[in-house]
Symmetry: C2
Subunit: 201 residues, 2 copies
Amino acid sequence: MAKSPIEFWFDFSSGYAYFAAMAVDDLAARHGREVSWRPYMLGVAFKKTGVRGLSSTPMKSDYARLDWARLARRTGLPFQPPANHPIVQLPASRAYYWVEETAPEKTHDFGRALFHAYFAEARDLADPAVVAAVGAEVGLPAAGIEAGLASEPMKAKLKAASDEAISKNVFGSPFFLCDGEPFWGFDRMDMLEEWLETGGW
Amino acid sequence: MAKSPIEFWFDFSSGYAYFAAMAVDDLAARHGREVSWRPYMLGVAFKKTGVRGLSSTPMKSDYARLDWARLARRTGLPFQPPANHPIVQLPASRAYYWVEETAPEKTHDFGRALFHAYFAEARDLADPAVVAAVGAEVGLPAAGIEAGLASEPMKAKLKAASDEAISKNVFGSPFFLCDGEPFWGFDRMDMLEEWLETGGW
């Protein structure tokens, strides 16, 4: 029987999720696993936890900026989000679920392209036309994306995903569930990999 | 010229600091470094960041409990804090600074013994007599500790340490400063070690 996919929960505005997105499929593949990418609205979790986003938390925001720049140097990934970071990523997240329904083999490429557009090219993903253009760059139909991300079924799907996150006690980004075992944070990917290697502790 | 010590900032009620405390001196020694242990009142930082403690944050508290138990299995360290965890660790923290003044060669042994008493034996460190008894177990004078932790100079010293933490943008526990470079969290000790090995990125 095939092993369950690793659930990769994230918000497209999360700097740590960007670094995770560029590494998670390779990590899973090393252990014969697939990944189920699950964009959701981190703000919904913040309402439950009473936590504010990193970028609006004193001291932590400065640390996060330093840390992201440091991770960029360490990983060799570019890191240059828009000046108005963080934004609410409704268009990108709804577009992701539309692609999942219409061209599932393209979802991860599209997800990585969205992260790259935002965090490496500072493109304005609040604009549905930009989200559609990013899709076109990985071979998806721009007009379809723009219609899909504005549709009621995709609004409902993103809402349901956010509700599902809460129901599974997912409260951060990135957040991984591996056979039900939770791992919170980019800096826990090593531990997730050790879990996969060893079968856990 | 000797290399600067690594500053290890922590609160004696922090589960992640417990795991860090048991590993940080060995990590530093592998790279020819000393460690300067700096207990402080994490609640002072919380007032600046607006953050609540893990144990009083919905969803995160459940995750932390699961994660601490998992880390205990992974590291082989016992983990059994008191039922009323977390407590405000004024007696232990002030006692630590008294030992630093009077028997500096004993501070780390005392610090580890305090962490062990609280997190492995569920002893009530809110009680100055218990803090003093822990000191006696590592060869320190119980009466001296009990007088020291109640003294005005040690109250002032802990307050100054907490103010210094804020001034250095230390907002978590454990939190490491290595030649000014900040590393927040037990799960960043690998990155700290890589920084020491490579000279950073």
